[in-house]
Symmetry: C2
Subunit: 310 residues, 2 copies
């Protein structure tokens, strides 16, 4: 039996060798090309808004949500090209949420991915509008997907709107804002992380599965996977904020502590946080069992999210 | 031949007598009930965001966009109940755009419809998120519409996303922001007004027609109507800002002048602005000819928009 490449994952990702670096490189390129095709060009009138949208969308994001979306399509025996519009839509939502979260009225961040945040370059007014435009663009892109037998445009739009809406993604940001400087419980922090991060990751894999006309059983397995990977991903973000320098992260380190934001390390300690992240990833691996060898890309991505250093 | 009620319109609205006050009263009530049904309750967790969404959505808006949407369904022989989700979606978009436009980074308005603006009550962070949530909610509501033979959810979502996106509604706000304090031409101002106001009004009547499975010819007529009414509506807004007091308007009067914003009266004078608004309304009336008596509600609404004092 062949072994997985060293350092990819703490648990054996299965018998197959999966070239994760190759997968991520090719998919990032494909997603970038597709995104550029969906968006108006930067010079399209009014150029300010389109330059601002492009600035944040092409600021070096890891494209993890598109990657898990495409990998979920593969896990269900689907075609990545069918999932591509959905992968791009999710990335537009993610980018809009970062632009708005970075605003002075929210997290007040000057840097993101080693570059000035949108409002530092374009001003607050345009940054608000660029976020609005990317959010709107996401739904325009979903409308351009094929639509499938089990999942038509109604289901796709509902899926994205609910994950991004006032009970999920936005609820997480509101609870995060309200929790600043307050002593919050581990349960409350879990509520925030589930919404700020799990919701959209879960949505990404579900949309990928839908593009492959997945069965209800497959959709439930993807939901389980997305939820656990998403929560692990956010806990690792908390851990990295404590343990890494700004240079390593490409963004201001220690921001959570400075802003007196509750984090897993602050509430339950670093070691316990690491153990929870590892356990969540194990749960995510387990959710992939029904997909067999086709789940290789999702399995490798889960390993990567646990091992990442930035 | 019976005459239209006095004061409704500068041009004869056709042989029928149309009870516009009754139409607006019943439809506003119906739209409010439907909106309350689509949105999470104000107490839904996290209550801050839902209270904030309700605050602006139920702040006494005139529901003109829902009204023209429902009236367009009637003009095409359709059922208003079918158009209701689309009418509500458009109102969510309109309200989100007002919340974001009022922010300190944009127009910096303290009052809207005689009440404190969203950010004055809930703070800037929550106001940004309430706008985001209403924008997202609009698409969730569209997904819950029936979908019709000629116009499925793909067409409905595309319609709303394009009218609200970076080439239309948001383009108008960007151009408006960039034009502040500058000498802009009448052509540039028309560009702004077409996007800030006409785009969503045009979209409202088109969606109403779509809910009635309108023919391509009917859709073209509705587009023509919506464009001209929308542009007239915005020019009248400019005129009222100059001629009315804050008390009459229920919002800060003279803001455009104070902000050195270009307006039709400032660029081409008050009388010429009034003549243009009247001419645009005539064009809107003409677009309704194909609908005959069924166009009565749209015709009355156009008259109302020209005669309004606030």
């Amino acid at each position: 039996m062949r072994r997985a490449p060293a350092g990819l994952s703490a648990e054996p990702p299965g018998p197959e060798v999966f070239d994760l670096a190759g997968f991520l490189a090719t998919r990032t390129a494909a997603v970038n090309t597709a995104l550029a095709g969906f968006l108006p060009r930067p010079a399209a009138k009014p150029a300010t808004i389109h330059r601002s949208m492009h600035y944040s969308l092409f600021a070096g994001g890891k494209r993890m949500r598109p990657a898990v979306c495409l990998a979920a399509a593969l896990a269900c025996g689907g075609d990545e090209a069918e999932a591509m519009p959905l992968a791009c839509a999710v990335e537009c939502i993610h980018t809009y949420s970062l632009i708005h979260d970075d605003l002075p009225a929210m997290d007040n961040d000057d840097y993101r991915r080693g570059k000035l945040t949108n409002h530092k370059v374009f001003g607050e007014g345009v940054a608000v509008l660029a976020g609005d435009a990317l959010l709107t663009q996401a739904f325009e892109i979903v409308a351009q997907a094929s639509g499938w037998r089990r999942y038509g445009h109604r289901e796709l739009v509902l899926e994205l709107a609910r994950a991004s809406g006032s009970r999920q993604l936005i609820a997480g940001q509101v609870a995060d804002l309200e929790g600043e400087g307050k002593a919050i419980s581990a349960a409350q922090l879990k509520y925030i992380h589930e919404r700020k991060t799990s919701a959209l990751l879960e949505c990404s894999v579900r949309l990928g599965g839908m593009s492959a006309n997945c069965t209800p059983v497959q959709l439930a397995a993807l939901t389980d996977f997305g939820y656990h990977v998403g929560l692990a991903f956010q806990i690792i973000d908390d851990i990295l904020d404590v343990t890494q320098t700004s240079e390593q992260l490409g963004k201001t380190a220690g921001k959570d502590t400075a802003a007196q934001k509750a984090t897993y390390p602050a509430i339950i300690g670093l070691d316990q946080s690491r153990r929870i992240a590892a356990r969540l990833t194990s749960r995510a691996y387990a959710a992939l069992t029904p997909f067999g060898a086709r789940g290789a890309a999702l399995r490798a991505l889960a390993g990567y999210l646990l091992e990442r250093q930035k």
